[in-house]
Amino acid sequence: MPTVFTHEFNTPVYKGKVSFNTGLFINGQFVDGSDRTTIDVVNPTNGEVITSVSEGTPKDVDLAVDAAERAFETTWGLNCPGNKRGLLLNKLASLMEEHTEELAALEALDNGKAFNMARNGDLVLAIDCIRYYAGWSDKITGRVIETSEDKFNYTRHEPIGVVGQIIPWNFPLLMFVWKIGPALATGNTIVLKPSEFTPLTAIRMCQLVQEAGFPAGVLNVVTGYGNTVGNAIASHMRIHKVAFTGSTLVGRKVMEAAAKSNLKNITLELGGKSPNIIFDDADLEQAVNWAAFGIYFNHGQCCCAGSRIFVQEGVYDEFLKRFTEKSRSIKVGDPFAPDTFQGPQVSQIQYDRIMGYIDSGKKEGAKVHIGGERHGSDGYYIQPTIFTDSNPDMRIVQEEIFGPVSVVIKFKDEEDVVRQANDTLYGLAAAVFTKDMSRAITTAHKLKAGTLWVNCYNQLNSNVPFGGFKQSGMGRECGEYALNNYTEVKAVHVNLRMKM
């Protein structure tokens, strides 16, 4: 029998009890993995085990695909009209509203992000997202296309069928809804693998999905490791689309597996090394605040983190001074303390990787302006860290660190910074700070990134698309654009009076 996770929260920001089954969710039931093994879920504030959850295997993926196929052919797909799908999604959103605090607490416990962030950021955006896609459910229209009076041509935007979804640990719940929202709205059934590091909110959401009334088999969640469950999904012959968010390294593997198996459709949302560009005429106070938000938000564990901060020479010293001050004021601490901004990194592995980059920065000759060390003695906390005096081929400038570590780089003029900013394999996001709107637009248009922020950072909306250029990925999530990831276009030609 799967473990029942019971936990009492008694914290300054949240008091409450949770108790739920932590099995795999297949065909509307919570079940053990077929090998009856489990995965430990670790608390990143102290390295201790919170609970264990059932571990899925490739065989469980098969069972999930069976259930998803059956549901697609009977109770879901186009057998369930759009407005009904929308009703269920709206019901799910209402349940999420009812359980907001509980979900935020689970997220903070599992991932380490501050409870207040989870509650006022992640949960708000997530509920918004589900309601947004609920509204699309009955609006998936094709086109009628004029060719000649002898023919009637139209398109249908049909659901793909069983889709595989693999999500990361940095925004467990938000990534969960970004994936299931558009997929369910368009009529697909799902086999989803949450991150083995942060499965708790995904599993709790399965119960809400069940409570909302989605038919069995529409959503299936198989917790497990990337090289077993993730690989099984990416290679599955009966899954016709896989959507992956995670590292570029693993993204390649997913694409390879898709190509080698059944050429399934893929969308990838991968890493970034996003440039944050501050011109001389920027509102410096604001630029400093946004830059801090850009790198310390979610402890730097954001694919779109503004990790390369380019500052024009005229304001470089003043910016650095103020940014340093701001960085020192970041409250690092327990996720359940009321004033915490930055919690621990999510795992030992991530902690080691980030510290490894910090070491490489030191070794390659960059200067540690502040930070560069562990914060405290328990858990995976890292000090806000700023590097200066780097050069472009250093690892800390080229590679994604995924922690509260930024490199501040001086630049001369627009041409110089655009060249430097684009000098990366990635292309997820970028930001420009300036009071000159013309410059803002021309620079923004020259930067090779999927999201451009002008005088702000890390702004996301459920109805605005998000995704990367180059090795930051392919395809777009959010907005109407996400619907394209989950529909297949069929063109129908009806002969009215042509004779052969």
Binding site: G82, G86, N90, K139, N463, V494
Partner: protein, 510 residues
């Protein structure tokens, strides 16, 4: 300032509190300058249910001012799509909560059976609100490439502003939802004039608007007589758009008024919502499934007791199946029970008013006197209530009034045809163009005929079934513009093009 009346619904014993004032700025108020009342009649018993305040021209001014103030402060561009969506969904929830009582009052006032009001009128209305709630945060414009080096352009789809909405009495709640939902989703504010025959549910729904949390002034409801309130709205210089559903006759007046006042969006042909009358043709080809076709044909003319703008009131049957089909049709039409809306057995209710009743009977008399043959109905009932039984005329000719004019009652004219061309020609021989139906199992014929029929909605092997996501409206004199679907959004948004120059230098002098 609370203005309510308590009425008891005889059949159920339920006591309902109904607001009877004008709904302005989320409150029910008296008229500013008039003591007039509108008597609201129960068409099944001919008795007065209650009376409500009759709005005057000055009241319309007050309502428009309230709508304008809300538009400039708490609504319009000051409220996000997400918030509009949330409120519309909340309104849908409240309507669902009050479904049964709303259905009973709808039936009491309009006459339609309670179960039909609840499951169809109100059920569809709730879905309509939810459908447009889903659009509220999806009103997008375009970005348009001009010259990457110097300029870009984009469009904004902005709310039109203050909208006057005038709705009819045949589907009071459903017509209310069709108007209110897309207007609110797009960010417009509203002054609604419900029909003076059926104002009660509009007032009850106004109460739900306040309960849902819409800011004051976003929706205002002014029951009044057409020539007073309707005219005032159409002429008003501070109303940006008027949307009207009703007779073609009144539609013309609205359009004239709009043109003479501020060229409001009732005269740019593409922008107006005028949803007017119809004399919709319903064609039965020889390959049709006759039993099903007869069912649909009955639904087409008898649903809502024929008080439907798309009523399939002209039936054309191919001569090879004429006798067989007619027999089927008459037999099925006889099976409909027209009675009190609270009687479980009723499939249809009385017509809505004495005026309608008299008008329908004058058409029946005209049919008789011009030589059409009555195969069903034609006899007045005795006793109270505006009950008209299913009536079928055959041996009609195209110039008869019963074939040319919209009767708006359960009165069908049946003609015959030989060829497909003849059927199409007969069907299109009308100044209207709202709906049309055809029954055939020949797919190519279905495509050819649906293409040739001059109507805004064509049903193939079906009739009178609509969807909130499918547009609806008329060609020719049946109206302008489309309601429902994504198309309705166009009626309530105005496109602004923004040209953003960031590099183009102006030469001077030229």
């Amino acid at each position: 300032m609370a203005q309510t009346v308590r009425i008891e619904i005889p059949a159920t014993g339920r006591v309902v509190e109904i607001p009877t004032g004008l709904f302005i700025n989320n409150e029910f108020v008296s008229s500013v300058d008039s003591q007039e009342r509108i008597e609201v009649i129960n068409p099944a018993t001919e008795e007065t249910i209650c009376s409500v305040v009759a709005g005057s021209k000055e009241d319309i001014d007050v309502a428009v001012a309230a709508a304008r103030a809300a538009y400039s402060t708490t609504w319009g561009k000051n409220v996000t799509g997400f918030e509009r969506s949330r409120l519309l969904n909340k309104l849908a929830d409240l309507m669902e909560r009050d479904m049964q009582v709303l259905a009973e009052v709808e039936s009491l006032n309009n006459g339609k059976p309670v179960k039909i009001a609840r499951d169809f009128d109100i059920g569809d209305s709730i879905q309509c609100l939810r459908y447009y709630a889903g659009w509220a945060d999806k009103i997008v414009g375009q970005t348009i490439e001009v010259d990457n080096r110097t300029k870009m352009a984009f469009t904004r789809h902005e709310p039109i502003g203050v909208c006057g909405q005038i709705i009819p009495w045949n589907y009071p709640i459903n017509m209310w939802a069709w108007k209110v939902a897309p207007a609110l989703a797009c960010g417009c504010t509203i002054v609604m004039k419900p029909s003076e025959l059926t104002p009660l549910t509009a007032l009850m729904l106004s109460k739900l608007i306040a309960e849902a949390g819409f800011p004051p002034g976003v929706v205002n409801t002014v029951p009044s007589l057409g020539p007073i309130g309707g005219a005032a709205l159409s002429h008003h210089m501070d109303v940006d758009k008027v949307a009207f559903t009703g007779s073609t006759l009144t539609g013309r007046k609205i359009m004239e008024a709009a043109a003479k006042s501020n060229l409001k969006k009732a005269c740019h042909i593409r922008e107006v919502s005028l949803e007017l009358g119809g004399k919709s043709p319903h064609i039965i080809f020889e390959s049709a499934n006759l039993d099903q076709a007869a069912n649909w044909a009955c639904l087409g003319i008898l649903y809502n007791t024929g008080q439907d703008c798309t009523a399939g009131s002209r039936l054309y049957v191919q001569d090879t199946i004429y006798d067989k089909f007619l027999a089927l049709l008459v037999d099925k039409a006889k099976q409909l029970v027209i009675g009190d809306g609270f009687d479980e057995k009723s499939g249809g209710g009385p017509v809505v008013s004495k005026a309608q009743y008299d008008k329908i009977w004058s058409y029946i008399e005209s049919g008789k006197s011009h030589g059409a043959r009555l195969v069903l109905g034609g006899e007045k009932r005795r006793g109270k209530g505006f009950f008209v039984d299913p009536t079928i005329f055959t041996d009609v000719t195209p110039d008869m009034r019963i074939v040319r004019d919209e009767i708006f009652g359960p009165v069908l004219s049946v003609g015959r045809f030989k060829t497909e061309e003849e059927a199409i020609s007969l069907a299109n021989d009308t100044s209207y163009g709202l709906g049309a139906g055809l029954h055939s199992t020949d797919a190519n014929q279905c495509m050819r005929v649906s293409s040739a029929l001059e109507a805004g909605t064509v049903w193939i092997n079906q009739y009178n079934i609509l969807g909130n996501n499918i547009p609806f409206g008329g060609k020719k004199q049946s109206g302008i513009g489309r309601e429902l679907g994504s198309y309705a959004l166009k009626e309530y948004t105005e496109v602004k093009a923004v040209h953003w120059n960031f590099g183009e230098q102006a030469d001077w002098p030229l």
